[in-house]
């Protein structure tokens, strides 16, 4: 197991635990927690705080028949939702987003591939496959972007990101992530803005140079 050195901030974990995060970010954080015991512990501690807020809430009387309704329904049959397990490099939440199927890669040229998991009003999330030495396609830099490494690694001006590492970048960060030598880098990239590829082609054509 490699050592994870780049984690979501405590505030981001709290926002995830509380359910404030847009879906793409929530997926990236859930996938990181699936790989990182430290953040799982922080997340569970935040659930305890959430539980305390629940305990301290003002009570509101419930209808007289709610309890008997619930008791009557206890043994009613329910359709179980499928539980998605980790498969290869993809953690459970990513498998869920893939609906249990392998990613459908689309070529972006130069050996780079992507598989869009969702692209909607509250942002986008996709898988990226980047051969060694190639640049990670530029994300839209309008808002926050979270990039979780699932295989291999990439490096940019801020450091090296290996399996399980989560890079949190906002529009103030000027960086050029490049996949390291070795296995192709597979990562999950979540943004809170719809996909844009303006600067993608120039970035792809940059020569590979190791820092």
């Amino acid at each position: 197991m490699t050592t994870i050195t780049h984690h979501p901030s405590d505030a981001l974990l709290a926002a995830y635990a509380g359910g404030s995060l847009p879906q793409p970010f929530a997926l990236a954080v859930a996938a990181h927690i699936s790989l990182c015991l430290d953040c799982r512990a922080t997340y569970e501690a935040h659930l305890v705080s959430g539980g305390a807020v629940l305990e301290m809430s003002n009570t509101e009387a419930v209808s007289a028949d709610l309890k008997s309704n619930v008791l009557d329904l206890l043994d009613a049959p329910v359709a179980a939702k499928p539980a998605y397990q980790r498969s290869g490099v993809f953690p459970g939440p990513v498998m869920e987003a893939l609906k249990g199927k392998p990613p459908r890669w689309k070529s972006l040229g130069m050996g780079v591939r992507q598989s869009i998991l969702s692209d909607g009003r509250d942002g986008s999330v996709r898988l990226l496959y980047i051969p060694p030495g190639r640049a990670v396609p530029d994300h839209s830099h309008n808002g926050l972007e979270l990039t979780l490494v699932l295989q291999g690694s990439f490096s940019d001006e801020t450091g090296r990101f290996g399996v399980g590492d989560l890079e949190v970048a906002d529009h103030t960060l000027e960086h050029t992530p490049v996949a390291d030598p070795g296995a192709p880098c597979i990562c999950l990239a979540a943004t809170d803005a719809p996909l844009r590829f303006n600067s993608f082609i120039p970035r792809l054509l940059q020569p590979f140079f190791r820092i």
Binding site: S9, A11, A41, H46, G50, G51, T59, E60, L144
Partner: protein, 185 residues
């Protein structure tokens, strides 16, 4: 003077009875405790009384159906119920499934370690006290965070949470949990 040893709370004991023995009387106790609090908690976000009760019903049924996932060595009953509630609210209000982390591979032990349960309860109690001692405006922001009402700006700037005051508590709980989790692997 000799103090009697601290006891596991009635809520935790009831939840273990539901999990291990499918104990309906214990479930009824949990319902009596949580249903009015849940309804109050849900209505604070602006949900009407009728829809809030539907969510309460779904949450309590999930507590019964998923009881085998409850692990008192790691989570307080209220933390567990809180998580189920937020997921259900997101499901109903935003029509989305909140992505959840993988479950740890290990099932909770049938005979949980009482001292570990007490440690978790004590930690949670201190956290609750710390929350109760916050200035009202600080507490409001924390509550907002755990009700899922942080704005995009507050998340992006990551400065909206005055978590410093309870951070040490979270860290203590975290260390304990992390220790436990590492032993699981």
């Amino acid at each position: 003077m000799k103090q009697s040893p601290p006891q596991i709370s009635a809520l935790t004991a009831s939840m273990i009875a539901v999990r291990n023995d499918r104990d309906r009387a214990a479930f009824a106790l949990l319902f009596d405790h949580f249903a009015p609090r849940l309804k109050g908690f849900i209505m604070r976000s602006g949900t009407g009384s009728g829809q809030a009760e539907e969510i309460v019903q779904d949450v309590m049924l999930t507590v019964w159906r998923k009881a085998e996932q409850f692990d008192p060595e790691r989570a307080q009953v209220s933390a567990w119920v809180y998580q189920i509630t937020r997921n259900r609210q997101i499901d109903v209000i935003r029509k989305e499934n909140k992505p959840l982390p993988e479950e740890l591979g290990e099932d909770p032990s049938a005979e949980p370690d009482a001292s570990q349960i007490l440690a978790v309860e004590q930690e949670a109690g201190q956290l609750k006290d710390a929350l109760g001692r916050l200035k009202p405006e600080q507490r409001e922001i924390i509550e907002k965070a755990y009700m899922g009402e942080l704005t995009h700006q507050e998340i992006s700037t990551q400065t909206g949470l005055p978590l410093g005051t309870i951070k040490s508590r979270i860290r203590l709980g975290l260390e304990k949990l992390r220790h436990e989790l590492k032993e699981l692997r």
